[in-house]
Every structure is written in structure tokens, then in C-alpha cells.
Symmetry: D2
Subunit: 472 residues, 4 copies
């Protein structure tokens, strides 16, 4: 029995039902990619057609179309995540790899696989019309027996990436160091009880920042994969937090030393793999940075699935970061709220996308950050075409969100109603409160003089929801 | 300071922004309700206009429009829930009532309040164009000092309801007995350790079924509000489950005795108010009914927010019930998945609505059940108009869901792809398995003979999601 | 049929099984309470007997016994919470009151009820041997039609409390203002969109601080009951947070103005009643206080059930607060982790209690804070004796925890093993890191020179757990 | 820098603190294991000494001591789980293996590793004094390129296991087939959409049952690792459930065919790896078995961590199974309730253990089932001695639970109070209800005649908890 691909299944169906899934292109064609057809031969550059019904054409994302004063590409600054997209094997705690990607042909050596994956990355980026990519050091090049070997491997692949970047006119949205996979990071990296592990993490992060800088990366991310603890029985949390701050301080110093101008980003996550992770959510991370005088040097990279794992909505985490002036970038994904772990799905819900985009618009965009697709196929999606469909779906969902968010803003009613709820702070006792002119004593006097209970005013959330729904 | 209504807020806004929120009517007018304007004077019968932008006009729900062979009214069989809509006070564990509904004018006696609320119910039903309502016995008439007094109160209000039903051509989708609010039900009703409480519950349920029958109710619901436990330390779960089954058996007997032809429905819920409730979810309830030979006499009333509290999607609970041939009715609401309790919000998400409607269509509809809005305004939504807006939003969301579900079905690709995944069971060894012709030994022989590992086939969920999204 | 009390049930059982539940007293007797026997006639002052088997005698809590250099009373500084204990009605979202406490005899006027409840409070406190109590303003005296009336009611009850405090030698551990129950607080108090509500909250909090000061209260608590939001659609989170900070700043100013020396405490809670509450957890609250330069004026009141609702252990929240130098007080309770709301149960698990007490010991105790029993009987526990049993169980559980924590500390092995894990930071490269002598470049050089991967060291958590278990 | 073992850390500590962790033996010695000292040279057979303070001596588990009429060994029938103990690598979704077990020396071939692991298994079993072990087919022998190769590998290892079983007098508590790790099981095994996968699963399960039978295994387990779904968009749940039932029916047939007398067990789990798993919890599984006439042929294997993931307590799942007459066996572990995935920790909480054992005692024990330690070390516990300590801790915790459960039962008060709560069903109207003599009409007549509301009786849960706590 041979594998049934989607095309084969469709071919077997009655013609009336099985519409042709091939890519729809405008009259002028889809655009030929200069990156070739080594890994994704079934598509050309993805076009835009609001009326398309095939999975390989954008219905909402129109790269150069201006919305609220900016081209869509600039609102999003989309990035492909190297790890999930090219290195995800499909293994999980209950089973081994399921993906059989052509760039990981078993006949290749580790370095040949790394080179093939990098070529696949730029072929995909070019065909999707994306301008950025993100990576961990150990994603793009295999680790060696020693740090020196690992660094040498990395340098070789970075040279290839540089060449391919030039061909495509792209650059890293951000780079980062993978400080959680090797066994010596099992107790943490900068928060390990072993000083030599702290040192190793520092050395690895230094090199990762070096290569991010070399590749023209715009940001550098810290996701504290195992910076946390399983139990306080065997953990000195105070000392570990002190070490975490010291490590971040060193990053600030090193960045200055090498003249790297990228933004440093903290990516919060509450749990997994550590039972408790120190960068729990945006508020915790911002508070930690402030306590250590690091808040001027860092911003927050909000990941939507991490948000919901921490009990917040993605929009809450975005807004918390925005209000602190620290909204740096977004890892665009979503989770299954009925599970308790990170599923890193592509975000496709139209309403969620609209809400996210309203915060991004309020922030004036994300630059130098952007939207990185920290999202993966389900384990049992194993066709190369699934990668392409998933990215198109993710880009289109956010584009649909941008369009609906813009319409809500242009309509104006929702924002006007919201502002109206707070109007009483613009005059009278409200204005005095805002101006800091009154304290508890003066307010008591005012209340006693009024001698009446406050007015009974509806919050009208159902009305707000109906206003919003009209544009989703 | 006086209360600011939405109209006042809008009046204070620049004209260009503050569009008139008044009801949009077609040229022929909205239709005057024969039920008058006692409680909802700001609206006439709600019309349908796909292009409307006001909150008081349906954009998707067009009562008599035929979709997939049935009028929308028949697909939905919408019902207003008396308790949340007219009796919800807004009190919660941290604060008292917030609603100041005109039908609960403090100057009225309890029975006058009950009469006013009943008039409000039918005025709302008529203006929304809904054909059904649902009630608990103690919602519609106040309890008295004794059961006899309570029954007398109930009879008076039922007489009024009968009259108003005739005027509006409506009837109860279902009735039920409220067996959880009185202090004597604190340990459960049919599962109370006190025999006299079992007896009281039986007596109250009998009367509730009597009046449901008298009013022409189509179903009778059991929601086991406190049928469950806090801790097994002080609970004999085996005995309590035996009593629960005995109680339901009595319901079957009594139904036959009085000639009530309505369906008996179990409404599962996992937690709250009991820490553990016996009717945890659809599978548990169906299993319980089967174990006690009651499954032929009952069906399931799925409540979406209860579904998610049990860790399932609403669609899972619907499908589980449908596959058992026991999908009886739906309590249409939704919850906030980031909280751990029942928020009973109006369901407004377009994608959820579409998924729900696909199961309903597969079930051929719900009759004699329907969609009951077991949903409430947020505590801080306190304008009478909020009730109307919320119901319109809920009806429209499901109607949008029906329209998109119908389009997906008519398009056919999604269902064809799904069926294609299982095609191998139609021939060869798959057909032998389906026919029960082979066992483990024969299958081992077949596998050893094949001498190959199974084909590697993608589940293509991202493709399915993109296919779906095009119609949402 | 008459109610069966526990005594009656036991009387009906075989003698051999039904051991006498009456209070066990030492030879010298239990001690007669000068507060009389108006509400708790079945007990005298509770004694201590490690071998007791009755529910009315402490087996672990021996008030004046010195453990690790302090009497147990000083380690705990136990407080009775007025609201749950005397004002809890048993009502929940699905049913009305179940408690029929004698101090709330329906024949009494509201003010007479308040006086009776206050007498009951001091009778209980005295019999338990507790030195503190906690209250909200609206718990102890009924609200009036206006603030002026409410204040007058409060003054009368405070005068009674003062008299009873003198008789018992007790004082408030803390007071607070109830800013969440009245309908005008439905959108928040200091974070309400209505300026007049902010003013009302300020006026009420001022009076609450006045009476706390008058009664010799040691702390003043802010639990932001409705300081949060349901949805960002209709919420200006930035403005609301600014108002919250302004309100707290006014508290600091007013405290200075009246010479109140008590500690101001923030009590975090993540959800309920608001879907999202601003004081989410200890880290969020501490971060907020620091961002607004308020951290020197406030400490944290950790509630264990709030901790688990936020996804943390109680111990995590205590340790987070302790490390920030802001561990102020504890609301001693626990939740059911399988539910999603605050159950406020009495903490009785021996292992949890031991872990909590190790943090308290590390903090050198809690003074001027203490352990307040913010815990309630289950809704269906309705005997007056249940109140007494629950408090004895709660005090004894923590006392058992103190005894086991002290043994673990005295044994020394667990702490030594924990310290040993971090030993590498005391010499060599570890010491250089601690001293800030090295940065990423130096660490890279060190790692490259070592040319070896870090040592593979076990975290030995199972061994730590077995060491701990021996003392539980 | 070299690895610091616990012994080395202790050696570096002051003598007074660092008590010698070496195994304590009674005067007669610990007993020399005939299985040698190849993998666990630091211990002899584990002894029992209630006063021991070292981690390698039981303080509660005294194998031959009779409690409530049975030796402890028979109450527990402890089993070592081969997979976690010998095959767990420590890899997780964020990092690779951490364990460097001597039986997996990289110099060995896969079959040599399998043999070494099997020797380690029996050395551990013998030293712990355990009589049983559990395994998946693919744990004990590596899979080959084809099923025939896999079967050949399995046969070789089974021959070794048989020999070692004879030396130790042990046997499998149960065997099972691992139907979730290979890529072809990614969509499920018996519920895969591919007929050839169903066939492969059947062939593999047949062989696993063959070898379980050959080894004298007492039970055969079905854990439906991927029998479930990610989304109903691409899933035909009805067909998949039908296939699941067909597969189980084949198991019953095959068992009869080969004369295997072991019990067939279903092990429920709600989520992970599938988002939704069909064997959600005990009630769902029992209901499914009943619906397919399989309940006489199967029992339930309750795993405690699976219980809590499904929102139930472990005790609830045990009691649900017991009441259905289907409590077959227990996977003894526990989870971290603040996380959302299976952590499979060793259960060490004394109160949980006591509650579990009360159900086991009510069930009269578990034979032919038992307690299988489906538990693993934390990823960062990497010393061989940690395996031994964890098992001793787990066995001792349950033994402590048995001792406290027995005391509570012998004391009798808790059970008497519980029975007393239900006494009203033994006389009068209660007895009539029990006897089925009355229906709703008769009960209404009885209530109306009584003309009184039910008595107000406390559930006294706090009193039950205090009674229990005295024995924990």
C-alpha cells in the first residue's frame, strides 16, 4: 500500500467535489522564485486574490497594500521560525519523529543536512514573500563535541545564510541561543547551580549574539527554557534569580562592546519544561527587569500560547507590554485552551487576530520587532505542502485581523463608546483626581457633601461585542 | 451625577462617529408587537437586514429563509431562558444584586413581580420572533412556606403563562424543577443522605412536570445542581448513585402515568456548585443511563459552557451525544476558557458557531429540542436594552454559523477529504475488518505477508482548517 | 423529623465505636472563658494534649511552647477572620443561605445582629486562645442609605469592639475596606470608569483606616476585589492602572497624616470575581508597586488559595514575597486544585503546612503580620461546633507544620544538601561570576580553555523528598 | 571539574550535619541478593526499620507483616515498571536524554542493552523485595525493520526474562503492546484511518499477549496512547470508536483462543498525547465497554496522574471503578496539579496514600492486579541510586497509607459517622424508597401530609477531616 497524498485523494473523488487544489495565480502569473524549486516544487511565489478558493493563494494578505497608512508587510514584518519549520521532527514524549523532510535525507551528513535546511528556509521565505527569519544557534548548525567545534560548525552555516540573505534581501528578525537542550542545561543555564554551566551558557550566548550581529539581525531573544525550578525543596530561588540578572547584565555589556544595536527581548513562559519558570508572564518579566535596572535595555517578546498557559489572553500580554513601553515583538501562534501544554499551533481564529491587531495598531506597529511564526504543524501533518499551507493560513489570518481591526478603528464607534465610559475623569472631581489635587480626606468631604450613591451605569460589553462582530 | 445611558453617551459624541443606535427597520416597518411596549419600549419586532449596522436588527437570522431544506426557525427552535433573562440579579459570591429591572420594582409584591416578569418574557419573545421559552418552577413563581403554598403560587402564574402563550403562539421548549437553591437541597436532592429530602425533590419535580405538561412543554430537563459531592470522606457514592437512578426511574413512570410525551433530558455538568457532580459529561451521563436501563427514556441536553468546564469542546459533547442517538437539545452559551467556572456568556464566536451547526445539521436538527439561551448578561450590564442586544447577538451568531456550515457542506471538499482519509476500510483487509471476518491471528498473518510498514500519510489538519476558514 | 446533630448521631451508635466527642481537658481543666458561653456553650478554653482524640483539643498547638527560640503563639500570630466566620451565609451562585447562626437570629435588628456577631467573635477568640482578628468595615457594621449613615453604624460597633478587645487583650491583625459588594463597585473601586466611584472608595477606605487605627490594628489590607476587567474591548487598562496607583499613593499619604503605623498590605488574586484582576500574583503586585515607587510603603499578604488559582504554589508566593523583602502576612487557607475557583478551605495537609512554615522561619516570622484564617466552612457544614472544629484543625495543622519544619531544620541534612548544590559559586570561576569580575567574553575564554562539557550532576529531588517525608 | 555525587557532597560537609547516607541494616544484615551487584552495588536487599533515618531502609513497608488480615505484600502486589525505570532517557520536548544508565553503555549493541536492562530489572526487583514487573513489548526488546524482526528480538529477550523470573520467583503483573511510538501509529492504532495500521496494531498486540502469557503475566493492559483525536474537522469519531470496540473484541477472542486467563485492563487517560483521548476516564471507559458488551471481559487500570488530568481525584477514579465491580489494578503515581501534563511522579503524600488505601481495602485488595510504579525520576535526577530511593519512597508512602487507613477503619468513628448520615433510608419513607414501593405521586402525598420542610443537618466535613488527620 502506498502513501495517499492529498492530490491523489482528490484525484479519486468525483470531479464536481474535488476542486483542483493547485495554486491560483493572477493573469500575470505568480512570480518565479530565484531560489528555485528544490524543496517546494509545487508552488511559485504566492499571489493574492480575494476570491481564490485554493489553499496556495492569499485571500487577505496583500503585501504592498496600504492599511492605516502603512503597507501590510510593514505592519507584520513576518518571520519564518527555523526550528519548528525545518528542524521539527514530530517527536513527542510518546513517540519518535514523524517528519521525513527532504532536507533531512538520511543519506546526508549532519552538516549537509544543515545546508539543505538553510536552502529550504530561503526558498520558503522567498515564495511566501516574507522578509525575515528567526533562529537558535543550534537549529541552524549541529553542536560538536566541544564548544570550539560547535562554533566552527556555526560559522560555516552562517556564511551560507549570509549568501542566501543577499540573494533574497532578507535578514533575521532575531537570533537566540538554545540554552535548554543539552543535558548540562537540565538544571537551567544562567540559573544552574553549577558555575561551569553558567559559564558555558555565557560562552554560547556570546557566540549566538556574534552571529546574529553578523547576519544583520534586528533583535536578540532570551527564552529561559529551563530557567526555573521543579521544587523549592532543592532550589535556592534567590540565588538563581540573582544569577539570571547577572547574565542579562552581561548581555547588555557585551552588546555595547560589539556595537550590536538590536533590541534584547525577554520571552515569558509560565511552565514547561520547568514546572515553574522565572519569566512567568509579561508582568513578572517586566517587574524583574525593573528590579534589576534592566528595563531600559530590554523589551518583551509576547508568545500567544505562552500567554494562555499563564492564564492570560494574548491580548492582555500584548497590552501589558505596550503600556510599559516594552512591546518588542510577537511570537504568533495559538494554543488549545483545553490542554495544559504548549501546542504552538498557527493562529487562525479571525476574532483573536482582530483583537491582536488592534493592540499592534495602538503600538504603532512592532518595528524593529515583527510577527514570528513560532508555530508548528501538528505531528501527523507530514507533507511538505502542509508547511506552505500552514504559513499561508497564518499570514492570511493576521491579515484578515488587520483589515477588520482597521475597519473597527475607522468606524470609530467602539473606541468612542470606550472613551465615553471614562469621560467623568475629564471634569469636576474626576479631573481633580487626575491632577493629584485631592486625597482621601478631600474625597470623603466631597462624597459626604454629595450625599448620594454613585450612578448606576451599564458596562454594555454585549453591545461592544456586537459592534466588533460586525467587522470580523 | 445621573446615570449615563448609551444613548446619552452617543448624544455627546461628534455626529460623524456616533451613529444612531436606533433600530433599523425595512421600508415596511419592523412589525408592531401585540404584546405591547411595557418593558422594551425602544424596539418593535426585530427585522432582518444583512446590511444593517445598528445593534437591533438581525444581519444573519432570517426566520423563514430556507437553508439546507428547512427554515432557519426550525433549525434553531430558539428559546429564551426565563431564569437568567428575567430572574438574574447580578449577585455573585462577592457582591449583591446589580440589576434593577422594571418587572422587579421594589414596590411590587412577590406575586406581582412574578406576573410582571412573565409579561416581560412574552413581550421579549414576541419582539425577538422566538417560538419557545424555558423555565424552572421556582423561577416563574415564588416558593412559599410549604410545598402546598409553593404549588398554589405556581398554579396562578402558570395560568397567566397559558394565556400569554395563546396570544403569542409559543410554548415551553422545556420545563424543569429547581432542586438546588433551597437549604434542604444543600447535600443534593435525589442524592441527599436525608430520605425526606429525596421525597421533597420528588414531590417538587412531579409538580414541575405537571405544569410543563399543562403548558404544552416539549421536553423536561434534569440538571443535577447538587447531585454530587465535596469529598468522599463523608459520602457514600454508591448509595447516592443508586438513589439518583431510582429518582429518574420514577420520572419515567410518572411521565407515562400522566401521558406526558415530552423527552426527558439530562444536562451534564462536571463541577460547580458541587466539587464533583455525578452527571460529569455526556459520556458519563450516557453510561449511567445505560447501566440503569434508562437510555431509551432519556436524551442529553448539551450546554456548551459545561462542556468546556469538563475539558471537552462543545462540539465533542454534541458529537458524543449524537453518536449515541441521544442528542436532545442545546443550551447555547459559551464560557471564558481562562476561568474555571461557568460564565454562561452568549456565544458569539463565528467559528465555534459554524462547528456547532455542522453537528446539528448532521443530526438532522434538534426537534423536539432546540437552542435555549442559557446565557446571561455580564453582571455589570444593567440596561434593559442590553438584554435585547445580547439575544440578537446570540441568535445572529448561530445564524451566521448555520450559513457558513451550509456553505462548507455544499462546497463538499472538507467532507470529501475527511471521508477520503478512511477509504482503506472499504476494500481489502479494511473491508474484512469492518465485516468482522478477521481476528488478531489473521491480521498477524496478513501483516507478516505484507512484510512492509504502513504508508506514511498526512492528516492535513492545517489544510482542513484553511478550507473551513474560507467560509467563516 | 428533627435535625440530627453529631452528638445525637453518636448517641445512637454502639458505645465501643462512638467515642465521646466532648472536649478533653487536662486535670487542671480547660480554663473558663471570661467571655461567657453565649454562642459556644459546648466548649471551654481549648487545651493542649498530644494524646487527645477528641476534636476540641489541640494535639500540636501549645501556645507558650518555645520552638526555634520563639513561643508558638508568636510564630503564628493567629487571627480569626470576621467575615467568613460570622458573616458567611453559605449562599453561592446556585443557592441561598444555609447558615442559621444564633447571632443572626431573624428577630434581631441589623445593628443587634452586628453586636451579637461581635460578641460571638470575642467569645470564639478567647476560647481558641487567639490574639488577633481581621475585618472589613462592612462585615462588622451594616451599610446605611448613605455614607454618613454607614459611618455612624460603624462607629457604634467599633466602640463595642474596643470594649471587648480590652476584656480579651486582643487587637486587629488588620482591617480593610470592603470595596466590591455594593453595586456601584461593579466596575471596580479605584479602577472604576466613574470618578464618583473612585471618590466613594476613597472615602470608605479612609474611614476603614480610621477605625483600624482606633482599634490598634497592626496592618491595613487592600484586596482589589473588582480591580480588574472582564474584557479589554470596553476597558482602558492603562488609565485604570494609573488610578489604582493614585489610590494607593493617597493611602500612604493618609496613613502619614493620621499617624497610623500599621503596614499597608496588597493581597494578590488572579481571577474571581473579575475575569482578570490587576493584582494577579505576588510578582505582578510587587512589580506594580515598584513601578509606582510604592514598594517601600507596602508588603504582600499572601493567600494560599489565591496562589494556586494563579498557577503557583503557596510556597512560591511566600518565597517570592520574602525574597523581595515584602512578605507581610498570610491568609491561611487552601483550595481544591481540581476546581477553578476560590474554595477558601481550612488548610489541613501536613506536608503543605510544613513547607509553608519553612519559609516563615526563613523570614524570621511574620510580625507585625500573622496567620489570618481567611477560611470558611463548607456550605453544608452548619453546626456552630463546626466553626470551632475547623479553627482547631487549622491551628493544629500549622502547628504540626511548625514542629516538622523545625525538625527538618534542626536535622540539617536537607539544607546542607541544598547548599551543596550551589557550592561551585564559592570558588574559582563561580566566585568570579558572583563578584562581577567576568563577562561573556571572559567566560567564553574560560570555557574554551577548559575544553570539556560541564559535569553531570543529579538534582536528587526524590532524595530531598524522602528526607522531608521522615519529618512530616 | 568532576561530577559531585551525593556522597561526595556529604563528605565535604561538617560531620555533625552530614549523617552517613549508607544503608541501615538490622543486626542480621540486609540479605544478600542472589542477583548480584552489577548495577546497584551500593545496596543489599532493603530492610525494614521504623527508626531508620537513611534513605535505603523501609520505615513503613514490612513485607510479611499482617495488616487487616493480609500481609503487606499481598495488599500491594508491587510492580516495577520497566519503561520508566530502565528505558526512560530523560528526553522531553525541549531537550535530549539526560540519563546515562550503565545498562545503556554506548558501547553495547541494541540487543546487549536490552539484556543488560533486563538483568538490572531483576537485580532491582530482588533488592526491593518486589514480586512483579510490568512491560511494553517494545520496552524490553528493540523493534526491527519488520514485524518479523521485532518478534524475533522479543523472543530472545523473553527467554532471558523467563530465566531471571525463575531465579527471583517473580512474574509480570501485566504486559502490554506499545502502540503509539512508531510513526505509523501517529493517527492512532486501532482507531487509525488506515486499515493497514489497524492490522499492524492487531498483529503487534497478539504477539505481546503471547509473550505475556508465556511469562505467566497476570493481566494485559490497553492504554490507548493515540486512540483519540486532535480535531473533529478531519476525524470520523463514530467510525473510530467502532474500530476501537472491534479491536477489543478481537482481544477477548484471542485470549480465549490461547487460554490466557489474565484480566484485560483498560487504562483511561484524558489528554496527551492526543488532544482528546477516547478512554477519557473510568466512567467513560466503563460506559464504552458496557455499550459494546465488553464490560464482563475487562477491568480498569487506574493511573492516579491520569485521574487528576481528567479533573477527578485518584480516589474518585478508584471508587468509580470499584462500584462498577471493575477495579482491576493501579498505576501508582501522582502529578503536579499546577501543571497540565502527566509528570508521573512517585506518590509520596501521606494523606493521598491513606485515602487510596481505604478504597483498596474496601475492594478487598487488587489481586490479580496490584500497584505498578508507573512513575519516573525527574529528568534531572540522574544517579542510579535515585532510582532506588524513589522506589523505596513510593513503597513506603503507600505502606504508611495502609497503616493509617487500617487505623482509621479500626477506630471506626469515621465510617460510623458516614453511615449515620444515611440512616434515614433504613426506616419509614426512606425504606420505602429503597424498596421501590413509592413513586413521585406517593412521595408528593407524603410530603404534603408532613407539611414541614426537611431538617437542617450538617455534613460535618471539617469534623471528618480532623478525625482523619489524627491518623495520617
Amino acid at each position: 500500500m502506498v502513501a495517499l497524498t492529498m492530490l491523489a485523494i482528490l484525484a479519486a473523488l468525483p470531479v464536481a467535489i474535488a476542486q483542483d487544489p493547485r495554486q491560483t495565480c493572477p493573469a500575470s502569473g505568480c512570480g518565479v522564485s530565484p531560489m528555485g524549486n528544490e524543496f517546494f516544487p509545487f508552488i511559485q511565489r504566492v499571489g493574492y486574490d480575494p476570491a481564490a478558493t485554493d489553499p496556495f493563494t492569499f485571500r487577505y494578505y496583500n503585501k504592498h497594500e496600504v492599511v492605516l497608512g502603512k503597507p501590510m508587510s510593514e505592519w507584520f514584518r513576518f518571520s519564518v521560525a527555523f526550528w519548528h519549520t525545518f528542524m521539527g521532527t514530530g517527536s513527542d514524549p510518546f513517540g519518535g519523529p514523524t517528519k521525513k523532510w527532504p532536507w533531512h535525507d538520511p543519506a546526508l551528513t549532519p552538516m549537509q543536512k544543515a545546508e539543505a535546511a538553510m536552502r529550504a528556509n530561503f526558498e520558503l521565505i522567498d515564495k511566501l514573500g516574507v522578509d525575515f527569519w528567526c533562529f537558535h544557534d543550534r537549529d541552524i548548525a549541529p553542536g560538536g563535541a566541544t564548544l570550539a567545534e560547535s562554533n566552527a560548525n556555526l560559522d560555516k552555516i552562517v556564511a551560507l545564510a549570509e549568501k542566501l540573505q543577499k540573494q533574497t534581501g532578507t535578514r533575521p528578525l532575531w537570533g537566540t541561543a538554545q540554552l535548554f537542550a543539552e543535558p548540562w542545561y537540565m538544571h537551567g543555564a544562567s540559573t544552574s547551580p553549577q558555575a561551569e554551566v553558567f559559564a558555558r551558557a555565557a560562552a554560547q550566548a556570546k557566540k549566538a549574539m556574534d552571529v546574529t550581529h553578523k547576519l544583520g539581525g534586528l533583535n536578540f531573544v532570551f527564552w529561559g527554557g529551563r530557567e526555573g525550578y521543579t521544587s523549592l525543596l532543592n532550589t535556592d530561588m534567590g540565588l538563581e534569580l540573582k544569577h539570571l540578572a547577572a547574565f542579562l547584565k552581561m548581555a547588555v555589556d557585551y552588546k555595547a562592546k560589539i556595537g550590536f544595536n538590536g533590541t534584547l527581548l525577554i520571552e515569558p513562559k509560565p511552565k514547561e519544561p520547568s514546572i515553574h519558570q522565572y519569566d512567568w508572564d509579561a508582568a513578572t518579566s517586566i517587574g524583574f527587569l525593573r528590579a534589576h535596572n534592566l528595563s531600559d535595555s530590554f523589551a518583551i517578546n509576547v508568545e500567544c500560547n505562552h500567554a494562555t498557559l499563564s492564564g492570560h489572553s494574548c491580548v492582555h500580554e500584548l497590552e501589558t507590554s505596550r503600556l510599559a513601553g516594552m512591546l518588542g515583538s510577537v511570537d504568533a501562534n495559538t494554543g488549545d485552551l483545553l490542554t495544559g501544554w504548549d501546542t504552538d499551533q498557527f493562529l487562525t481564529d479571525p476574532r483573536d487576530a482582530s483583537r491582536i491587531m488592534r493592540v499592534i495598531i495602538a503600538n504603532g506597529g512592532l518595528a524593529p520587532g515583527g510577527f514570528n511564526f513560532d508555530a508548528k504543524l501538528r505531528r501527523e501533518s507530514v507533507d511538505v505542502e502542509d508547511i506552505v499551507i500552514a504559513h499561508i493560513a497564518g499570514m492570511d489570518a493576521l491579515a484578515r485581523g488587520l483589515r477588520s481591526a482597521a475597519k473597527i478603528i475607522e468606524d470609530g464607534r467602539l473606541d468612542a463608546l470606550k472613551a465615553g465610559r471614562y469621560a467623568s475623569f475629564q471634569t469636576g472631581i474626576g479631573a481633580d483626581i487626575e491632577a493629584g489635587k485631592v486625597g482621601w480626606s478631600e474625597l470623603e468631604a466631597w462624597v459626604l457633601k454629595q450625599n448620594a450613591n454613585p450612578a448606576h451605569v451599564s458596562a454594555k460589553l454585549e453591545h461592544f461585542e456586537r459592534l466588533e462582530e460586525a467587522f470580523i
